[in-house]
């Protein structure tokens, strides 16, 4: 059962008015322009026990991602491929609005939106994750934890997941006499695509990207657009109640294309990767 949580109070309306007035002048509360993103920081490898890990921040929002590889059976309809699973938890230490307990609908939505970008862009070569056709394959567990929440956990989550994947060192296994054993060697995942997302917030006929917390609570509606390096749209999620005027969409797609490029560049600089 999904329960509505929209409660736009009077205060929120005053904040909205303020943000809207700024937007009309091309400005925002924290000095950014409507299409500016907050600073991106990426630290990888801080969890040595994970096979890949990254802590990414976008402004005050911090995301920790860890990856663990296990050996399991391939899906029966994809015998030549390994698989991956994305989970996300909105940790209660990240925000007064997050509760301890199993992921609520927001956590589930975050996991599924991140999963969609990774899956549809085919950035992981799943065929390389097969060990023995139809019998043994790698399963990657990608676990996303929101550590500090200052608005927009979508974009930095995708960044952290890609950083963890890009720097992961997966233990190699081999099958000897039917037994699966570690060889002691490692391999890299060699990502085939770098899909990023851009989160948009709309107030009246104006939009902005990467809303911080105060903005987020004042939005009329928000939407996430994911794009790969070939300018394909690979994921969209309208993730709040509200009307999106149909004629705004194309413009947002254009901005998403530009912002995802920007994020990709920052990502590659931080990880010292060529695009």
């Amino acid at each position: 059962m999904s329960i509505s949580q929209m409660k736009k109070s009077l205060t929120a309306k005053i904040v909205q008015e303020k943000i809207y007035n700024l937007l009309k002048q091309g400005k925002r509360l924290d000095g950014r322009s409507p299409t500016d993103m907050r600073p991106i920081n990426i630290v990888t490898g801080l969890v040595e026990k994970a096979d890949g890990s990254a802590l990414a921040s976008m402004g005050g929002t911090k995301i920790l991602v860890g990856i663990k590889a296990e050996i399991g059976s391939p899906y029966s309809d994809r015998p030549r491929e390994g698989s991956f699973t994305v989970n996300a938890e909105l940790l209660p230490l990240a925000s007064i609005s997050f509760e301890p307990g199993p992921p609520d609908e927001r956590g589930v939505e975050l996991a599924r939106v991140v999963d969609r970008s990774i899956r549809e862009s085919k950035c992981i070569d799943l065929e390389k994750l097969c060990l023995v056709e139809g019998e043994k394959a790698y399963i990657l567990f990608v676990d996303v934890y929101v550590l500090d929440y200052d608005g927009n956990y979508y974009d930095p989550s995708t960044i952290a997941v890609l950083a963890a994947l890009a720097t992961a060192r997966i233990p190699k296994y081999e099958v000897l006499d039917g037994k699966v054993e570690k060889t002691g060697e490692y391999f890299n995942l060699q990502l085939q695509s770098l899909p990023f997302t851009t989160t948009f917030g709309i107030i009246k006929e104006k939009f902005l990207v990467d809303p911080q917390l105060e903005e987020e609570s004042a939005l009329d509606v928000s939407i996430i657009i994911g794009m790969d390096e070939k300018d394909n749209v690979i994921s969209i999620q309208k993730n709040s109640p509200g009307l999106i005027p149909e004629n705004m969409l194309e413009q947002m797609i254009d901005v998403a294309s530009e912002k995802c490029k920007y994020t990709r560049q920052k990502f590659c600089e931080a990880l010292n990767v060529k695009i």
Partner: protein
């Protein structure tokens, strides 16, 4: 899913596996008021996709401290019967059902005048009894009619359909096979009179240039569905019902 190499989803003339043209909807059947014990209900069949929706409310919230002083709470549960899909779905809500319940609820919140019913809840239940692609959009189409029958005031009806890409062609209203083996699936819901999107998701790869055209396809389908919704409501209120169980 690995697609069988011989499987052709669409041929050179643009004819799809079930004989449809790219911009053609599957046969659509709409019934209103099919479940007596709810305040409003509807049944929608789109090809083999079959969905019930029912609405209860506005009613008192239990426990009371969950009520909102200035508006109604809208609850929504999208649920699939275990036998509605090829592989039996285990009991309990899957993560997919949880996500879809959320986006469907948000789509409905976009049009319902919640502030007219403070301290109450409006509960929307969607039951998919057979899933052949497009269940969230069919569910939304049905839920919006159930709300109308329950007399809940809305800025507009919501009409919804998926659009997608298969073997390089844009197509309207994907069936399950097209969804599985196609390149992209984009469910769209609109409040047509308001020219506004209330639900939008995308799964797959759609070149930036294709996006506009995909949206046009969706709008065409939505216009047809909207038409049929209004017809069904008219028929309902002129006292004719079709469903017989």
């Amino acid at each position: 899913m690995v697609k069988d190499e011989k499987l052709k989803l669409i041929n050179e003339e643009g004819t799809r596996i079930d004989g449809r043209r790219p911009d053609e909807l599957r046969p659509l059947k709409i019934e209103i008021g099919v479940l007596d014990k709810s305040d409003g209900s509807a049944y929608v069949e789109l090809g083999k996709t079959k969905v019930f929706a029912a609405v209860f409310g506005p009613r008192e919230v239990h426990p009371k401290h969950l009520a909102l002083p200035d508006r109604a709470i809208l609850n929504c549960r999208y649920h699939m019967a275990s036998f509605s899909v090829d592989e039996r779905k285990p009991l309990g809500m899957t993560r997919r059902e949880i996500e879809l319940s959320k986006v469907i609820r948000e789509a409905l919140e976009s049009v319902v005048f919640l502030e007219e019913f403070p301290r109450t809840s409006i509960d929307v239940y969607i039951e998919v009894i057979q899933a052949d692609g497009g269940t969230r959009t069919a569910g939304l189409t049905a839920a919006s009619l159930a709300l109308a029958e329950a007399g809940i005031p809305m800025a507009d009806l919501v009409a919804a359909v998926a659009v997608g890409k298969i073997e390089g062609h844009l197509v309207l209203d994907l069936c399950d096979l097209e969804d599985k083996y196609g390149e992209a699936d984009m469910p769209v819901a609109m409040a047509p009179r308001l020219n506004s999107i209330v639900l939008l998701q995308l799964n797959g790869r759609l070149a930036k240039e294709d996006f506009r055209r995909a949206l046009e396809f969706a709008k065409k389908g939505i216009t047809e569905i909207y038409q049929k919704q209004r017809e069904a409501l008219r028929k309902k209120y002129s006292g004719v019902s079709l469903m017989e169980v």
